[in-house]
């Protein structure tokens, strides 16, 4: 059995923004392709143990980027849903900030089964892992969870042809082709639920925290420490996460110490001071904001040339200003620079209206509603989730691009559940969406982007294990399942006595590593 890694290496102690060497490694991983994206056991980060050790006590009130919609890890798409999934559930493997995959619920890396007719691996499970209800994790829970993920998430486990339990603590996974299973099984969608079931509104996972309460009216989620978490009890007793419909509300809450972690700064007005000083930490630019397309005007929004026209008309330069201090990179491909996505040229970022009009004209030849004599009566609706206030500004820029093309639009701001339902049902024209994935893993980004656009064009290449990033890019440019807008990081301001705050490779805050140490520093001298 290969040596176990320290679980805390998933979340480094220091700020986890990507280093140049990390980016170089990412490019090299991407260039050699999906199949050989090996599990790297590099010593890159460590645990918090140093001079003294964190104590087990306290409560912290923090923030989510928006309202969570689901507890089901398979359905988790937005950043808040991914944060919640990581609090409540565990996958078999976890990806660390530098892109390394480490055994998590699995006890070791997948081991090839010799002599099998098809590529098959055995995955040994950790013994003694418990769910929040005290029951023991079994191989059947794992098989059922992965089977559900395989069915509901077509591309991610497309290469997997069979999953079976071979012992109480061992499973076998058969694949149609040789793939890097550990990386796939590190994705939140493959997290293990009790009996493999959709957890509904009463999630029972093995994760570091257990759900205590979800209060949508008060816009807060409370989780409590799970004493028996296999990777160690979290240091905090309780974590409360809030979401807001206005950025200033969140900053105001930090200012008065109603919350101790904020993603929108520390004070409402420039020059005003919060009660306590703040440190800040910033993650990788691993959150993609994009325009998604629904089916309310399917002929219009489903047309690749219409999408291209919107893509070309967008002025992405201005998006960089829509931040609370975090880094933003405008993007037209759904792959970050660190994973080989390249840098958007200033010319493209500034938009190209004449090219956009040419694309629209091409679309109009197929879509009567886009014809010059009818386009004036077309009105598209852009959906925005109300607890993501930045998205409203982004939607305005999308609306402006449409207007440049002669298309009127309205912006509908909806509560998270209604927004999610309409997006899921395709009951919309356009929406502002979010994707988060490990920043260096190009194959995952391409897969997520096509899945967000409900486009199965890449599934075959994932199933064959012969993923080709260049071919994916070509396909993406032809079909534009989504229109990428920008990659952004998450920056969190936190009270100085809150320690251990860092981000994983997908820019998800590692709330499981938080601890309180000492006293907060007042801003008053």
């Amino acid at each position: 059995m290969p040596p176990a890694r320290d679980l805390s290496e998933i979340c480094p102690k220091r700020v986890s923004t990507q280093t140049r060497s990390g980016a170089r490694r990412a490019r090299s991983l991407t260039s050699v392709g999906w199949g050989v994206c090996v599990i790297a056991y590099l010593a890159v980060s460590g645990p918090v143990a140093a001079e003294t050790r964190p104590k087990y006590a306290g409560k912290v009130e923090g923030t989510l980027l928006g309202a969570p919609v689901t507890f089901d890890p398979i359905a988790a798409r937005s950043h808040p849903d991914l944060v919640v999934a990581e609090l409540l559930f565990d996958p078999l493997y976890r990806m660390g900030a530098p892109g390394t995959v480490q055994p998590h619920l699995a006890a070791a890396v997948p081991v090839p089964v010799a002599g099998a007719a098809r590529p098959t691996v055995k995955v040994q499970l950790r013994r003694g892992v418990r769910f929040h209800d005290g029951s023991q994790l079994t191989a059947s829970d794992v098989v059922a969870s992965l089977e559900r993920a395989r069915v509901q998430n077509k591309w991610l486990l497309a290469a997997v042809s069979a999953i079976r339990a071979v012992a109480a603590d061992e499973i076998e996974i058969e694949t149609a082709a040789s793939v890097d299973l550990a990386t796939l099984l590190s994705q939140p969608a493959t997290s293990i639920t009790k009996g493999g079931r959709d957890p509904g509104d009463k999630p029972v996972g093995t994760g570091p925290y257990a759900l205590e309460a979800l209060d949508r009216a008060k816009a807060r989620l409370t989780v409590k420490a799970f004493d028996d978490h296999f990777a160690g009890r979290v240091y905090l007793d309780r974590l409360v996460l809030h979401w807001y419909t206005a950025a200033s509300a969140e900053a105001g809450q930090y200012e008065t110490d109603a919350i101790q972690i904020s993603s929108r700064g520390t004070a409402v007005y420039a020059g005003s001071q919060p009660t306590y000083r703040a440190d800040d930490v910033e993650g990788p630019k691993a959150l993609l904001v994009y325009v998604g397309f629904g089916r309310a005007h399917a002929a219009v929004t489903g047309d690749p040339d219409f999408r291209r026209a919107l893509d070309q008309a967008l002025v992405r330069n201005g998006l960089a200003a829509l931040t609370s201090g975090e880094h933003v990179t405008p993007a037209s491909v759904p792959v970050p620079e660190e994973a080989g996505g390249g840098v958007l040229s200033p010319a493209v970022a500034a938009g190209n209206l004449s090219a956009a009009q040419a694309s629209l004209a091409a679309a109009a030849r197929r879509v009567p509603a886009l014809a010059p004599d009818r386009i004036g009566s077309l009105k598209l609706e852009i959906l925005v989730e109300e607890s993501r206030p930045d998205d409203k500004d982004i939607a305005l820029r999308v609306a402006r691009a449409l207007l440049q093309l002669g298309i009127a639009s309205t912006i509908a701001t909806l509560p998270a559940p209604q927004y999610a339902a309409r997006v899921r049902d395709g009951n919309a024209d356009l929406w502002i969406g979010q994707l988060a994935a490990p920043v260096m893993m190009a194959p995952l980004w391409w897969g997520h982007a096509f899945a967000a656009g409900r486009d199965d064009a890449l599934v075959k290449s994932y199933a064959s294990g012969r993923f080709d990033a260049a071919a994916a890019k070509k396909l993406f440019e032809a079909r534009l399942p989504i229109v990428p807008l920008m990659f952004r990081s998450i920056k969190l301001w936190h009270r100085t006595d809150i320690r251990g705050l860092a981000f994983d490779a997908a820019g998800v805050p590692c709330f499981a590593e938080l601890f309180l140490f000492g006293s907060p520093r007042s801003t008053r001298r």
């Binding site: 059995m1 040596p3 176990a4 890694r5 320290d6 679980l7 805390s8 480094p12 102690k13 220091r14 010593a43 890159v44 980060s45 460590g46 645990p47 918090v48 143990a49 140093a50 001079e51 003294t52 050790r53 964190p54 104590k55 087990y56 006890a107 950790r126 013994r127 003694g128 892992v129 004493d227 028996d228 978490h229 296999f230 990777a231 160690g232 009890r233 979290v234 240091y235 320690r499 251990g500 499981a512 590593e513 140490f517 000492g518």
Partner: protein
């Protein structure tokens, strides 16, 4: 014969529990007289067979911080100890990481890695988020434990190769002290972060001195001293001293004056800068290191170069990394 049996039994009781703790043993009654008589006889017998008492010869120690080696063990360092397990007259330095035990020492003029052995067996479930480890020397073997693994690793030298075998469950901290972690947490179930015992020290007269340092989760480091008869058959409490320390600490008699030094670290938060302070057992400061960029995660006091004078070696690690700087303080 009966008296001898009774004497052994009472002597054991005297050894295990300080005589002052039992009022009957101090009294003038039969039991008290018997204990004193037995103790005297045993002391006389032990003195007849004991190693010769040799008072230590103090040496002048020049405290000066200097880098010994920088290296990356590939996993967080959990414990550090110096011991001469290979019997060459020079102590080796044993670094216990979350994955391995690494031996370091002088090879010619180079301080270098001498060998390493991996932990094996089942991973521990649950394991604390910040790994915890212990190290204890038993004869020519070193018993190491890492909270990442269910069982200890027993390490020794076979000819010139460092070899290891699976040990027992738990954490051997001292000869007579095994402990278990509070499940999933970074401290032991007796609310301590660590314990260090030394029975290779002598007092100014040359009598064996046993020292036990225990670090509570509050940061209070308690050092208990016992003065023993030659051979260590009977020991008497010789004082209890209190300090404050981070998780890395050590006791030793570096200047060989028969009074142990206590080496403590800062109590700052993980990730903050740190320092090392060498004090007398009475609390007087002998040396304070320059502030370190990283945390001090291990301290060892041992005679690494075999010149008869101990060295204090500290391991410093930047939070978030596994890379170590080993510094010698004298």
């Amino acid at each position: 014969m009966n008296l001898r049996v009774a004497g052994v039994a009472i002597a054991c009781a005297c050894t295990a529990v300080p005589a002052e703790a039992d009022p009957r043993a101090n009294g003038d009654g039969y039991l008290g007289r018997l204990v004193r008589d037995v103790r005297t006889r045993l002391d006389d017998l032990a003195a007849g067979h004991a190693p010769k008492i040799v008072p230590p010869v103090p040496v002048a120690v020049t405290w000066k911080q200097a880098k010994l080696i920088s290296f990356d063990p590939g996993a967080p360092l959990l414990a550090l100890m110096g011991a001469d397990l290979d019997g060459d007259g020079k102590a080796e330095l044993y670094a216990v990481t979350a994955r391995e035990v690494i031996a370091l020492g002088w090879r010619g003029s180079r301080f270098t890695e001498l060998g390493r052995v991996s932990f094996s067996g089942d991973p521990a479930v649950p394991a604390p988020r910040d790994p915890v480890g212990t190290v204890h020397v038993r004869g020519a073997q070193l018993i190491a434990a890492s909270s990442a693994w269910a069982k200890e690793l027993v390490v020794g030298w076979n000819k010139k190769a460092l070899v290891g075998q699976l040990g027992g469950a738990g954490f051997q901290r001292c000869a007579h002290n095994r402990a278990a972690l509070r499940p999933g947490r970074n401290h032991f179930d007796d609310n301590t972060y660590g314990k260090r015992c030394r029975d290779d020290l002598v007092d100014p007269q040359g009598y064996p001195l046993h020292a036990t340092a225990t670090l509570a989760t509050s940061g209070k480091l308690t050092v208990d001293l016992e003065q023993c008869q030659p051979g260590g058959a009977t020991c008497r409490p010789a004082g209890t001293y209190a300090f404050t320390s981070g998780v890395a600490f050590e006791i030793g008699d570096v200047d060989r004056d028969g009074k142990p030094e206590v080496i403590v670290t800062g109590t700052g938060a993980p990730g903050d800068g740190d320092f090392v302070k060498v004090t007398t057992i009475g609390g007087a400061t002998l040396f304070t290191s320059k502030p370190t960029m990283g945390g001090v995660v291990g301290i060892a006091a041992a005679d690494l170069d075999g010149n008869g004078v101990g060295e204090v070696v500290v391991a410093i690690r930047l939070a978030g990394g596994t890379h170590l700087d080993l510094m010698r303080l004298d």
